[in-house]
């Protein structure tokens, strides 16, 4: 394939610019290979994250010609001829070059109450579940936490709704909550969290997240929309609302309101 110009964004939080490198591209190479080549021969301090190089760990997310992709799964021959532009994910603060500070995601994750199963079905501590019951959840659990969906979500990217009082959990964590809410064994009610902490209502289902998901999870259709319906049913159905009010007045309501978690500061040393 010969030589290709790479324009790579170099810099840190104080600013930066695109720099040009000439790369030698051969058959089958992916963008991450080119980055490694440039690192080894021209710019040993070029920062990028990567681990598995097989689309399984979700570390090497970046924007390739403006498209959010995994560098390890983007073949050079899939890109149009001409120079390739490479820049970090733009929804997160820059650390250096292609590396961004994604610690916010870890803080959001911690807000989600953990899995709590119903008591085991059998004395040996096991449950029985049909494959059909778990298929749906397994789709969500394919997530590799590349955070590309968070990166393209306009609520996070354009409106930066990441800190109180305006927070949106983002598609990744809608999917994580979906995996818990639809887990056949789980017993926790996370609808209050969805509605008032992760603010699911802020998603207006443009499906940008679904489009970039390298695991092809149907984030919007199978995850966010069903969760939105559950929230609507629970909080905005007039009949249920009335029943709940009456129930509250009569003291019939079993579940006392639990305090909702708030986003913690100081991300890096505690997850």
């Amino acid at each position: 394939m010969g030589k290709t110009i790479f324009r790579i964004w170099r810099g840190d939080k104080t600013g930066g610019q695109f720099r040009e490198y000439q790369a030698e591209v051969s058959e089958g190479m992916v963008v991450l290979d080119v980055v490694h080549q440039i690192q080894a021969t021209q710019a040993p301090d070029l920062a990028c994250r990567w681990n598995c190089k097989a689309g399984k760990c979700g570390s090497c997310s970046a924007e390739i010609n403006g498209q959010p992709r995994l560098m390890c799964m983007t073949r050079m021959d899939s890109l149009p001829p001409g120079p390739v532009t490479l820049e970090p994910m733009r929804a997160f603060p820059i650390i250096k070059d292609l590396v961004t500070d994604v610690s916010w995601n870890y803080r959001i994750n911690k807000l989600i109450p953990p899995f709590k199963p119903r008591p085991p079905d059998f004395p040996d501590g096991t449950w029985r579940l049909a494959q059909e019951e778990v298929d749906r959840v397994q789709e969500f659990r394919k997530c590799i936490e590349c955070f590309l969906c968070q990166n393209v979500c306009h609520v996070l990217r354009d409106h930066q709704m990441k800190e109180p009082p305006e927070i949106f959990g983002g598609p990744r964590f809608m999917i994580r909550v979906a995996a818990l809410e639809m887990h056949p064994l789980d017993t926790v009610d996370r609808l209050p969290l969805l509605k008032d902490v992760l603010n699911i209502g802020l998603c207006n289902i443009t499906k940008c997240c679904t489009e970039v998901c390298p695991e092809e999870i149907h984030i919007t259709d199978n995850g966010i929309i069903p969760l939105k319906e559950r929230v609507v049913d629970a909080y905005y159905d007039p009949l249920l609302w009335l029943a709940r009010k009456v129930g509250n007045l009569l003291g019939l309501r079993k579940n006392k309101k639990i305090p909702l978690p708030t986003l913690q500061k100081n991300p890096t040393s505690e997850a």
Partner: protein, 613 residues
């Protein structure tokens, strides 16, 4: 000394399956736990594990139990295993798997709703609890999402470069954060190493950049012993084309689901070479092997496994033989295909949608080949060849407690040696992480409770900081760290690979000496902030130690057994069947090698092995 100091009872280094499980256990025992990961949390190499977790749950075949699993593990390891670890592993794995389910893991199910188990090489019964071919991801995410609510302090993108000692025992660790390059001190009463393996010592590997033998080298430098380092597992099936993806793993699950290996002549060569120890348990015709895959009987008795599911060391050697003798595929591998099996299955199940069947059974393999190789595995054969995958050897530990020979220093998972002997069975790694991760966490916590914190050694910290900074703008430096690493990988690949000879390995030792010389002249440009050149320079020290340990151990073992094949000693030797090779750092700083007799196995375990012959 103005570095930040974190105080922990137990410090766990490494946050893959073993590290997370250790941290969870130590925390559950009431300890203040620190967890250090070289990458972001949840990205460790465990996510790459595809096949499953080996545990004798007996869900698919009720005849399975710990005794069969134990006997399979020992046979696979050619009886060099630490038998106590193999026993504990086989007994405790089922409980660890059930525990994962209770923490939210969602395994594939049997028809009656239990955890489904699949066949894998060297396991007598279907034993691997799995989630499609992404079991490792399920495991790490489950442990991660459970662990973050246990009050564990997580230090992400932090690399440890030295264990700190006070007299004989470890009392802390010294490292740096990638982001800013600033140093950090951890003061701990006990330390668990869970740093994984050494794949980056080789050119063709399924391992990521992180796998630079950090824990092996840290332990060695701290005075611990390493055992079985000659046993490097070459996974028989890595991708070979295109060049940039060479080495990426093709799960054994492909063969477990009926995948067939063929040479360039189209011949299914695995039937030709079935080792004596496995003759009784291996099919001698295609029909029987395929019936085994779908769990059905052959001529009224249990079908025996297809020869593609023989142990990894054997399959890798057969593939190398085909390639060397000129029957390889166009890009220097052999073919692995699912079409023969699917056509056979279609004849039994008319109307079967073959493409959908493969996609459902092996979703990530389908994607991997489609995206990286431009190959549709539902229609085309894959090209595969051996890739460095795992090291059986590691820190020599006590079987029950996982403590090394250095007080307060524990090891679990790939960095620990012993469980797998001369060859690891697929699926025994994820179970290893859980069983011994838990044990290491538990015994480290006990150690921490029984011992006061030691004194932090200021001189060791300062010395290490000076060493780390010496690379940056080294005035006499003229070597590129990436180039030195590349040359080391080339050396190990060519001279200490699958087929070994004394003369090659002696040359490797000389080459390593020259590389050490060049290492002193490595120069890093740029500053300390997220600088991969600097990180590579520091990791190189570990790779040099590990490469030497592998080479010296392999030289010492003058026989062929398990993962080690010596062309100059092609047979097994009774003498070497009784010893493990152990290396440690001598008082003069040079590497010492010795043979350590394997302790006598108790009678009840001998009986188990006899009954399962």
């Amino acid at each position: 000394m103005d570095y930040p100091i974190y105080e922990h009872d137990v410090l766990v280094i490494g946050a893959g399956g073993a590290g997370l499980r250790a941290a969870i256990e130590a925390s559950a025992m009431g300890c203040r736990v620190g967890l250090v990961c070289k990458s972001l949390l949840g990205k460790a190499h465990t996510v790459m594990a595809e096949g499953g977790i080996a545990a004798a749950l007996g869900n698919v075949d009720a005849r399975d139990n710990w005794e069969v699993h134990f006997a399979d593990t020992m046979r696979g390891g050619q009886y060099l295993n630490n038998w106590r670890m193999a026993e504990i592993h086989a007994k405790e794995a089922p409980e660890r798997v059930r525990e994962l389910e209770a923490w939210g893991a969602v395994f594939d199910r049997t028809k009656d709703g239990r955890i489904l188990q699949r066949h894998f090489g060297g396991h007598k019964y279907p034993r691997l609890a799995h989630v499609g071919d992404r079991t490792g991801l399920e495991m790490i995410r489950t442990l991660q999402d459970h662990g973050i609510h246990q009050g564990i302090d997580v230090h992400m993108e932090c690399t440890i470069i030295r264990l700190l000692k006070d007299g004989d025992r470890v009392v802390g660790a010294f490292g740096y954060y990638r982001e800013r390059g600033q140093f950090v001190v951890f003061h701990a009463k006990a330390i668990v190493l869970a740093t994984g393996g050494i794949g980056k010592a080789y050119k063709i590997t399924s391992n990521s950049w992180e796998y630079t033998g950090d824990g092996h080298a840290l332990a060695y430098e701290a005075g611990a012993e390493l055992v079985d380092m000659e046993f490097v597992q070459f996974h028989p099936t890595g991708m070979v084309w295109p060049p940039s993806v060479r080495g990426i793993l093709v799960t054994e699950g492909v063969r477990g689901e009926g995948g067939v290996l063929r040479n360039a002549l189209g011949k299914r060569f695995m039937f030709d070479d079935i080792p004596e120890a496995y003759r009784n348990s291996t099919a001698d015709n295609e029909e029987e092997g395929f019936l085994y895959v779908i769990g059905e009987k052959y001529q009224g008795r249990d079908a025996r496994r297809p020869p593609e599911l023989l142990t990894r060391d054997h399959v890798a050697r057969c593939i190398v033989r085909e390639i060397r003798e000129g029957r390889g595929s166009p890009h220097g591998g052999v073919f692995l295909e699912l079409q023969t099996f699917c056509d056979w299955l279609e004849r039994r199940r008319p109307g079967l949608n073959k493409a959908e069947y493969i996609k459902k059974k092996l979703p990530s393999m389908y994607h991997q080949f489609k995206q990286l190789g431009g190959i549709d595995i539902t229609k085309q054969p894959m090209e595969v060849g051996p890739t460095v995958h795992y090291i059986m050897g590691g820190v020599r530990v006590d079987g029950d407690t996982q403590m090394s020979t250095v007080p307060g220093l524990f090891a679990a998972g790939e960095v620990a040696g012993g469980l797998h002997g001369a060859n690891r069975l697929g699926g025994n790694s994820l179970s290893d992480l859980l069983v011994f991760g838990k044990r290491a966490g538990e015994y480290a916590a006990r150690f921490a409770k029984e011992h006061a914190a030691g004194q932090l050694p200021r001189d060791q910290i300062e010395e290490t900081a000076r060493w780390a900074l010496s690379f940056i703008d080294h005035p006499q430096g003229d070597e590129n760290p990436f180039q030195v690493q590349y040359d080391l990988q080339e050396t190990m690949q060519n001279l200490v690979g699958i087929v070994r000879r004394e003369e090659d390995m002696l040359r490797a030792l000389e080459a390593l000496e020259r590389l050490r010389e060049r290492y002193r002249r490595v120069r890093v440009v740029g500053n300390r902030e997220y600088n991969p050149g600097w990180h590579t320079a520091m990791d190189l020290r570990n790779l040099l130690i590990v490469a030497e340990a592998i080479t010296r151990s392999a030289l010492e073992r003058r026989e062929s057994r398990g993962a080690q094949f010596r062309e100059d000693y092609p047979n097994k030797s009774e003498e070497f069947g009784k010893v493990n090779i152990v290396v440690c750092k001598g008082p003069d700083g040079s590497m010492r090698v010795r043979r350590e007799p394997i302790p006598e196995m108790p009678d009840y375990l001998k009986r188990v092995i006899e009954q399962n012959k």
